[in-house]
Amino acid sequence: MNTCEKIRTQLGLLLYGELSFDEEEAVDAHLEGCAECRTALERERELHAALDGQQIEPPASALWESRQNLQRLIVAEHTAAHRLSWWDQFLDARWLKSAGALALLSIGFFGARMFPGLGLGITGMSMLDPGAQRVRSVEPGPHGGIQIVLDETRQRVVSGGLDDQNIRVLLLSAAKDPSDPGLRYESVGILNDRAQAAEVRDTLIYALEHDENAGVRLKAMDGLRPFVLQPEVRKALSGVLLSDGNPGMRTQAIDLLTQGVGEGTGGQTGNAVDRDLIGILQGLMNREDNAYVRQRGERVLQLVNASSETY
């Protein structure tokens, strides 16, 4: 192979910038003194230019369609995997072995959690019976709206305000979802803004009394704060004082039930603290192990001139 032939084999690589420094130096030096090879380089450039722009650009619709299909496939795959995982958990869970068939069915249903989505664009499906779905997550949206992610045969996103009945029903259901404390926490947090509605208040009270997660219970207590004078709320808070295992919850319950005590104006006076509450606080003092809770309780009892001892 003579020099010109060798140089011409390198012209393509020269245009692609794939020659080493030394190779490029040698080609450049040769081109300076060889008109035929410079012509060959021009032809090579024309070839490259002709090939440029021949690339096919996928239509946006193809990309969109591909993303949708991918999301469906992954949701299906994730669901299958998750169901297996739930089954495994079920087999391992000893406490479930004694549960009845109905409970098992219920857990199986709620346990079928699905992939929450890749954000690849599946929205706008119609609403179905919320009872046949599972709320995966809730979060505040812009302009006071709420975004709820549902798990069902295929996932979808529904949006709407807190006063939208569908949204409300889903949130109430999500607030009691036994499998996801994070979901319950977010749902209760959002529902707190509508605690004036009896159905919402009932759900908050239920969460306060029954939720196994202290964060969710505390959140529910926050929502009930403005309604602390209502008998059903006081009853639930008294229950917290007596039976909640979390000292932080008991402290908060004391604070809420005795709001304004000792302030003299506007709040509860010593006389206004109901006898039942004094009795409950005195009962609490008898068995409270936590020093801080004891201190808070004793302080309230001193303010209302009641003894720390049980009558």
């Binding site: 084999t9 393509g12 690589l13 692609y16 794939e18 032809r43 090579e44 024309e46 070839l47 490259h48 230019a49 002709a50 090939l51 440029d52 722009g53 021949q54 690339q55 096919i56 650009e57 996928p58 239509p59 193809a62 990309l63 369609e65 591909s66 993303r67 299909n69 991918l70 496939l73 992954i74 795959e77 992939f115 929450p116 989505g117 890749l118 954000g119 690849l120």
Partner: protein
């Protein structure tokens, strides 16, 4: 690879999050690369359906195997390795079946569905569009004369702009072998398009 850019740092965080099960991070990874994956598959296979099949399968494999990704190479290289293997498989299958890629039987004879897909240039100039159409046919013929590997290397270098070293890494071969492959491909293209350019 060159030095780490901000995106690469973010990408590492995204990959780690996706490995931990963060689906939003996985979605971001998909969106970062899926357009170029679909473009590569569509240009190589010249069939929208086959390209979409490769797209689905590639990202499903990523989804299934992401936890085992150990950052031994860049995510891009790993992903492209999957995509190019799928495309090569598809091209080999076609060769066995001796199928054309994008031709379907129309009312007036065979029609190439990829002709309906716009190329990157040819924007609004009828003469240029006609010349491009003709050139496109010639390029298509020329490309069909390449072996699967030559076709792959040419596509990755000329249209995807990857360096030969990276192409070698993706295809599991040396930079030198990729260079030879590219040389053969361009030589064949030059011969096939010789009187047109």
């Amino acid at each position: 690879m060159a030095q780490k850019t901000g995106f690469q740092v973010d990408e590492t965080a995204l990959i780690r999050a996706a490995q931990e099960g963060d689906q939003d991070a996985f979605g971001q990874l998909v969106r970062a690369y899926d357009q170029s994956v679909l473009r590569l598959a569509m240009n190589l296979l010249r069939s929208p359906e086959d390209a979409q099949d490769v797209y689905q399968e590639a990202f499903l494999r990523v989804f299934r195997n992401l936890k085992s990704f150990r950052f031994d190479c860049s995510f891009h290289t790993w992903l492209y390795r999957i995509v190019t293997n799928l495309c090569l498989d598809q091209m080999r299958k076609r060769k066995v079946r001796k199928e054309g890629s994008s031709q379907v039987e129309g009312a007036d004879g065979p029609v190439d569905r990829m002709d309906a897909v716009p190329e990157v240039s040819a924007q609004g100039d009828p003469e240029r569009s006609m010349l491009n159409g003709e050139l496109r046919q010639r390029v298509k013929q020329a490309l069909s004369g390449l072996t699967s590997r030559e076709r792959m290397v040419f596509e990755l270098r000329h249209y995807q702009g990857l360096k030969l070293r990276n192409i070698g890494e993706i295809l599991g071969t040396s930079e030198e072998a990729a260079k030879n492959c590219l040389f053969r491909a361009t030589q064949k293209m030059r011969i096939a398009l010789g009187d047109f350019v």
